[in-house]
């Protein structure tokens, strides 16, 4: 045990003395989450919209006022026919068109409900999503604060239509995605590099000619990165919660446990990579190409899996990050528990066992 503690201590020394490692470990995650956060889900301001009011009564007028005075939207145009909607989008200035159905106020009084159509230009998927959500929120708060407050049990049904990309998904995609990416990078890349470094600098030769067995060497390598990755994950969750207002509907402890599982998976993958590479350079390239790019492109982080060709969809199902993203999204946004995400959790556990088993088997007790 004493041996093992000595080994772990040494590993921490390596990390804390190398400012580049520290930068990758702590600078990068924060920078990435902030960059992704602001780029991917920038708060909207001054979005140009057009309104097609087929009813032109006092309620539609009030809603229009609420929307235009919210500070998020600028009324660019009032439309008078359905044809103009298409034209307005084609000109590229208007991002959203709000359509009130005819006889809006009358219907509301008669049937207790009326419809508003929100049409968004989804060629810029994220903006479209955010814009339509903001609009919905304003309408809902109008219903709640103005109509309900007056004792009128009316219902306004906003119907959202996404033009040009109606399968659009994932508002809060960036937090789970970035988390998966960073944890993958930090855990897998850093461990694989740190083991490969021992090989490259010849210290592995000395370690092997010591009574230290492969398992303590591997675990000793993993523990410091596990601790640091976990701190990272907590920082990311805190940042996304406090800075970007990402909700955490589910159980926080469950969320952290799942995160720990993913970290462990990434670490065992890192060890596997290091068994196949003899230098830091090789380890880094394998991590980059085999982990980072697929994680970004195929996990559903940036591009929706549903829109991919079949082959890439199959490929994406061997990406551990895909399952992690699903789990995190479910917990954070929908507040799901283990009952919903047990399948994905099980897949991650399976992957971890597989990678760990393979790497311990492949770990060489000799130089050849």
């Amino acid at each position: 045990m004493n041996r093992f503690i000595g080994f772990v201590k040494k590993e921490f020394h390596h990390i804390f003395r190398d400012y580049r490692t520290m930068l990758i470990l702590f600078g990068m995650p924060i920078a990435q989450i902030l960059i992704f956060g602001y780029v991917v889900s920038n708060e909207i301001t001054d979005v140009n919209i057009a309104i097609f009011d087929k009813s032109k009564d006092n309620i539609t007028q009030e809603i229009t006022n609420k929307i235009t005075s919210s500070g998020f939207f600028i009324l660019h145009d009032n439309l008078n026919s359905d044809q103009e909607i298409e034209k307005a989008f084609k000109r590229g200035i208007v991002r959203e068109v709000i359509v009130f159905e005819p006889n809006f106020a009358e219907k509301l009084k008669r049937d207790g409900k009326a419809g508003i159509q929100i049409i968004a230009d989804a060629s810029d998927a994220n903006t479209a999503n955010i814009v339509s959500n903001y609009t919905k929120a304003i309408i809902n708060s109008y219903v709640k604060n103005e109509l309900f407050a007056q004792g009128l049990p009316y219902e306004i049904i906003p119907e959202v239509r996404m033009l040009y990309n109606d399968e659009l998904k994932g508002v809060y995609m960036f937090v789970p995605g970035t988390m998966a990416l960073i944890l993958m990078l930090v855990s897998a890349m850093m461990t694989s590099i740190s083991i490969a470094r021992e090989k490259e600098l010849g210290t592995m030769e000395v370690l092997l000619v010591s009574p230290l067995k492969p398992l303590p060497i591997v675990i000793g390598k993993v523990i410091p990165y596990m601790v640091l990755s976990f701190i990272n994950a907590v920082v990311i969750i805190a940042l996304s919660y406090f800075v970007f207002g990402m909700p955490i509907q589910g159980n926080l402890i469950f969320l952290l446990a799942e995160t720990l599982l993913f970290i462990f998976m990434a670490l065992s993958l890192g060890i596997l990579i290091s068994t196949a590479s003899n230098s830091q350079m090789v380890a880094m390239f394998i991590s980059m190409f085999a982990l980072m790019l697929p994680t970004m492109l195929l996990s559903g982080f940036i591009f929706p899996i549903e829109n991919m060709p079949k082959i890439l969809q199959w490929l994406s199902s061997i990406m551990p990050a895909k399952y992690f993203i699903i789990i995190i999204k479910n917990i954070m946004i929908k507040g799901s528990g283990i009952g919903i995400v047990w399948k994905e959790t099980l897949i991650l556990v399976g992957m971890t066992v597989f990678f760990l088993g393979l790497s311990i088997k492949k770990f060489k007790v000799r130089l050849e």
Binding site: F7, H13, E205, L208, V209, R366, L367
Partner: protein, 310 residues
């Protein structure tokens, strides 16, 4: 009967295409300082890595401390101290941290075996807070030796510990080895420096994966069995050519600023040689008979081997 610490029988090692070690036999007895002397690429590192159980032998029987290097590698690993050719300590750890680390992974402490490393450690102790990467070459080797010794091993296996180290540090390093030997530690050391061979109890001269001779340094020198002269002139390069062209001269090897020559007959008329060389426009000619050293023996053995091959 002598107790053998290392026994190597008909050891062969091939890498994909190259046969690095071609059937080597030697044994090292307890308490011996045994030197493996040979140029780069002779197969020394391969032999050492097999002995330290880092690579498999292709053929042959190898035993260290009576344990087989293939079957009982774990027992061997806990009882040997190994210093690889390359500096293999953690450059980003300080001197003291490196030592503590190696003591710990061998399940011991610095204090426990301090008497063993004391002589060496006092020399680097003033720098104990310095990072190992920032030490000078000689200091690094001393630290590496400390780390290899910290668990009080029965055998020390040192792969070219003095390569790239300045002359003073080399001398100090060998003094330490001799002191360790006196403490009863068996030491196997390799070196490309022939002058270090004289400090070993026994040496094996190795070339191209084959051992040419194993004996005490004195006996190796005695086995030279020829007379040897050192010759020098103002134009050393021309002198090599001229001497080689004389048919009564057997071999010519440059050796520092001198040329070492042997003759077909072991009889040299110095005046005659001087006049022959003066005819060829050499000035400041010096000739003197000298004692052979290990390097001369090595060159001779190498030369003989070439002759038998061709």
């Amino acid at each position: 009967m002598k107790e053998f610490i290392i026994e190597v029988e008909n050891l062969k090692k091939s890498y994909e295409k190259v046969e690095a070690v071609k059937g080597v036999n030697f044994s090292v007895s307890k308490g011996e300082l045994f030197g493996l002397i040979g140029p780069d690429g002779a197969g020394k590192t391969s032999i050492f890595r097999i002995l330290t159980t880092l690579i498999f032998p292709t053929e042959g029987q190898v035993k260290v401390l009576n344990f087989d290097v293939i079957k009982n590698y774990k027992e061997i690993r806990s009882n040997i101290g190994y210093m690889p050719q390359r500096f293999s300590l953690y450059q980003d750890l300080s001197v003291e941290e490196n030592l503590t680390f190696f003591a710990r992974i061998f399940g011991t402490t610095i204090e426990e075996n301090y008497n063993l490393i004391k002589d060496i450690y006092v020399q680097i102790e003033p720098f104990k807070d310095r990072l190992a990467g920032k030490l000078s070459g000689g200091m690094k080797q001393k630290l590496a030796l400390c780390c290899a010794l910290i668990h009080s091993p029965d055998v020390l296996i040192l792969d070219e510990p003095t390569t790239g180290v300045d002359a003073v540090s080399r001398k100090e390093f060998w003094e330490m080895l001799i002191r360790l030997k006196e403490k009863g530690i068996t030491i196997l050391v390799s070196t490309p420096y022939m002058d270090e061979a004289n400090l070993c109890d026994r040496v094996a001269l190795i070339q191209n994966g084959e051992i040419m001779s194993i004996d005490t340094p004195e006996k190796v020198i005695q086995s030279f069995g020829r007379k040897l002269w050192a010759v020098k002139s103002d134009r050393i390069y021309q002198l090599i050519k001229d001497l080689k062209s004389m048919d009564f001269i057997d071999s010519v090897f440059p050796f520092g600023e001198y040329l070492h020559i042997t003759l077909q007959s072991d009889k040299l008329d110095q005046d005659q040689l001087i006049s022959m060389l003066t005819d060829k426009n050499h000035c400041q000619i010096q000739i003197q008979e000298i004692e052979a050293n290990i390097e001369d023996c090595f060159m001779q053995l190498m030369n003989n081997e070439k002759l038998t091959v061709t």
